[in-house]
Amino acid sequence: MEGNRQMMEEKMPAVLTTDDSAGTAISKTAIQEQAQFITFTIDDQEYGVDIMSVREIKGWVETTVLPNTPQHMRGVLNLRGVIVPIFDLRCRFGLGKTSATKMHVIVIIEVKNRMIGILVDTVSDILTVSINDIRPVPRMERIVDDEYLTGLVTIKERMVALLNQERLFNSQLIEEGVATGRAWKSDSA
């Protein structure tokens, strides 16, 4: 497992965080060179998270809103007795708040021993890719700041951006992320 990670770090030193706990970002698959991701969509963009961090996938339910929290923080819900905060990924990327319906999906993932849920449009696939196929993110190319991605994978014309959920929902980094998203929005407008 460590080997996996080191390999990736060698390949993409600019992308991977040096954060100690970043190891969870890379799937722990039995086969040395492969990693598995769960992919989901927001609008027409496809994103992936490490399958080992995914705990559960469930339909959208009404949450209890926490006062005075950032807009992408959609409140908390009760997951069998555990209070889990739900983040709106679209909003997190500065693409506006999702008007959630029953068709929307919450992916519950574990990040640094915390359980969080991310609100996405649909869950699409389980992706098994060779680690060698993961490409580094070119800086400042995509709508989401590359800091929050660990890499890109191209599968039959589809491009999947692999999320670095640890950085994505690290509260200290949230303001920067939102600012980045907004910057993108005003650029494209």
Binding site: T64, N68, Q71, N78, R80, V82, I83, Q172, E175, A179
Partner: protein, 742 residues
């Protein structure tokens, strides 16, 4: 012992956990010794000895050499004390207490992987050695206890007479399961002298029926040695619960047939020994003179002889697992409530059919919930056991004579409460000793009271809560002095007329202290208000009753668990919140004329001539659709830090409910004004309000001169409007908007 590369850490963790428990036990026993230094129960000494021995054993396995070394010396002394070689004196008990401290610190040091270097370790070690080697204690032994046996070393040297011991040893079938091995015992005995062994294989079944972990053999050993009986008993010390053991002695000296050290004071040893717990029998001739401090002469009672430790009656469970269980049971209760509601909506013929089943289900789930909660319960003993020592030390520091009586130490309460209980309790005891009890014994005698003061500490269950009561028979609260001090410190105005009870309550005011000078015991004025604050934070209450000249009584009332809270469910707009019932004083709907908006943007409400600041929840949390007019809403008066009161404005009170407290911080960051969350009967999350935090938020808002931006809260902010997106995750309350002013 193989040197396999397996993970030692988990065994270490278990060892340290065990040590913690053992030390508590030792501390308790020491406290008992200390209370009755003249009537020492030898069983306590045995228990302490076993604790130290177990600590040493584990430490040896992990090579904590410093710990082993100290434990060994400590153990040697204890061993002599329990054998009566060294009399138990107060001085010695003080030393034992100090030694226990060192032991605790050494264990801590071993846990941290460091070595203790300070001098107290050497001091205590050398003192222990001094005593163990028959220092100051020895002369006393000879004068005060002529019947006590000779110190072991002397005996070894002096006694040349050899005895023949006939030892019948029949292990119980579960001997191996308790990790005992007869072979080791045989080897150990072999070192004591000439040993001949006869094996009895009667119990051995057909080979097909043999279970590998059951003990089938029994033995008769004949041991010829010059060692005393205790040495032989010691061999069996840790197996006595798992076997039937009988030791007969035949002396091989000039008077064959009689036991060595005949003891005329011991007329019928058989009768006395039969009182021994367990299966240990001594049918031999009188062997040892009874040391006066023991109740049972003869053989040392076996390890773990106390009935509570003889059988495995408890298991060690990770707290996380219990929490998970508690969570799931909470969910079960909610699901059950939901199902029940749904069944009620069914056509009556179905509903009737199912109602009986649901009744049972409801009952069972409640019972499961209670049982699960009970798993976390522990006796308050673990906190109470620290108190005798505190009292002793404080009493000597303050030069007062104090007797402590503890009652109800087996009262059970949730582990989390126990952890939080220690600090307030210690504070209260200090307060009682320092302020409650008269300065000198003469003062007490003059007041017609015994020179020795009594402090009673008791715990009891009362109506679903635990009451912890501290009573002293001191001088009571000096109300005149309290009043003057309170006026001096500006806590009350000089013309306020207060009832006696109200004056007593003043001692809980922040910054209040009647002590004229600050001592290291108390008097800094951060006393009772902190105690009260801590207790309120635990969802508890504290009250004081005092009779001048006769004493003071403090009553703490705490919930049995911190996992549940009695809450009032309130609604603001579409949102539901929970306010802890313990902080609510009253709730009312104010008349329009009592509401006064102030120029700084805050609002006060007059209640019986007192002005209370209003905390506008809808405003602080940006809740849309809430009632803004206080005269149409409800003001919940709550007590906040320092005993002050504020009114929280809510739309409606929805009712009281006991709720299970869930941490928000477990998966998210703290949210200002919210202390925790809970799950309501419909499965939805509701937030528990932190009234202190709300007050701070409201105050901060008032200080803001000009409202500028609108923090995102419950209100939907339409897309396209300029959002304060570059604000940090937790928005500074000072920047919160005052909606009405926008």
């Amino acid at each position: 012992m193989s040197n396999n590369e397996f993970n030692l850490d988990q065994f270490k963790a278990t060892y340290f956990e065990e040590c913690a428990e053992l030390l508590i036990d030792a501390e308790t026993r020491l406290a008992l010794l200390q209370q009755h230094p003249d009537a020492v129960d030898v069983e306590d000494l045995h228990a302490i000895f076993r604790v130290v021995h177990s600590v040493k054993g584990g430490a040896g396995a992990f090579s904590f050499d410093q710990l082993v070394g100290f434990a060994h010396i400590y153990e040697t002394l204890l061993d002599k004390m329990r054998q009566g070689t060294i009399p138990v004196t107060e001085e010695l008990i003080t030393l034992l207490l100090a030694a226990n401290d060192i032991l605790t610190r050494l264990i801590q040091a071993a846990q941290d992987g460091v070595t203790l270097t300070d001098t107290s370790l050497q001091d205590i070690t050398s003192q222990l050695k001094l005593f163990a080697e028959g220092g100051p204690g020895e002369q006393q032994t000879e004068s005060a206890r002529p019947l006590a046996q000779e110190p072991a070393e002397q005996e070894e040297k002096n006694s040349t007479a050899k005895s023949k011991y006939i030892i019948s040893f029949s292990p119980k079938p579960h001997l191996f399961q308790h990790a005992n091995e007869p072979l080791l015992l045989v080897r150990e005995m072999k070192q004591l002298g000439e040993l001949s062994t006869t094996v009895n294989t009667e119990r051995l079944p057909n080979i097909r029926k043999i279970e590998p972990d059951i003990a089938y053999f029994s033995w008769v050993f004949e041991l010829v040695t010059d060692r005393p009986l205790e040495d032989i008993e010691e061999v069996f010390e840790f197996v006595t619960d798992d076997c039937d053991l009988e030791i007969k002695v035949e002396t091989l000296d000039t008077e064959p047939g009689t036991a060595k050290q005949p003891s005329p004071e011991d007329p019928d040893p058989a009768e006395q020994t039969s009182a021994l717990p367990g299966t240990f029998e001594n049918t031999g001739a009188p062997v040892q003179a009874a040391p006066p401090l023991t109740t049972t002469p003869g053989p040392v009672p076996p390890a773990g002889a106390a009935p509570t430790t003889a059988k495995v009656s408890s298991i060690r469970v990770d707290l996380d697992r219990v929490d998970r269980l508690v969570n799931m049971v909470g969910e079960l209760v909610i699901t059950q409530a939901m199902l029940k509601q749904q069944v009620e909506n069914l056509p009556p013929e179905f509903a009737q059919y199912m109602s009986k089943g649901f009744e049972d289900l409801g009952m069972h789930t409640r019972e499961i919930q209670e049982s699960v909660m009970a798993v976390r319960m522990q006796p308050v003993k673990s906190v109470f056991s620290r108190i005798p020592r505190l009292v002793r030390e404080l009493a000597s520091k303050l030069n007062k004579q104090v007797e402590l009586i503890t009652l109800g130490e087996h009262t059970e309460v949730d582990k989390t409460v126990i952890e939080q209980l220690a600090d307030p309790l210690i504070h209260m005891i200090r307060n009682s000793l320092d302020h409650g009890i008269e300065e000198t014994a003469n003062d007490r005698i003059a007041a017609g009271k015994p020179a020795k003061a009594t402090v009673t500490l008791s715990a009891e269950h009362r109506s679903g809560r635990i009451h912890i009561i501290v009573i002293d028979d001191g001088r009571g609260i000096n109300r005149e002095r309290v009043r003057i001090k309170a006026i001096e410190k500006g806590i009350i105005s000089s013309d306020a007329s207060l009832s006696d009870e109200a004056i007593d309550e003043l001692i809980f005011s922040p910054g209040f202290s009647t002590a004229d000078e600050v001592t290291d015991v108390s008097g800094r004025g951060v006393g009772m208000d902190v105690v009260r604050r801590n207790i309120i934070n635990l969802g508890g209450r504290i009250a004081v009753q005092s009779t001048p000249g006769q004493g003071t009584k403090f009553i703490m009332s705490l919930p049995l668990t911190l996992a549940v809270l009695d809450g009032m469910i309130v609604s603001v707009g579409q949102e539901k919140f929970i306010i802890s019932l313990t902080s609510i004083i009253e709730s009312l709907r104010p008349a329009k004329k009592d509401i006064h908006p102030l120029s700084n943007g805050s609002t006060v409400v007059a209640i019986r001539g007192e002005y209370l600041r209003l905390v506008l929840l809808h405003n602080l949390f940006n809740i849309p659709g809430a009632q803004h007019d206080p005269s149409k809403a409800i003001v919940v008066v709550v007590e906040i830090e320092g005993g002050r009161r504020v009114g929280v404005l809510v739309d409606e009170l929805l009712g009281q409910q006991q709720v299970v407290i869930k941490s928000l911080e477990e998966n998210y960051d703290p949210v200002e004004g919210i202390s925790a969350a809970t799950i309501l009967g419909n499965g939805k999350v509701a937030l528990i309000l932190d009234v202190d935090g709300l007050d701070a938020m409201a105050k901060a808002e008032i200080k803001t001169s000009a409202p500028e931006t609108s923090g995102q809260g419950f209100s939907e902010i339409p897309q396209g409007t300029a959002l304060p997106l570059d604000k940090p995750a937790t928005i500074d309350p000072r920047e919160l908007a005052v909606m009405e002013q926008n």
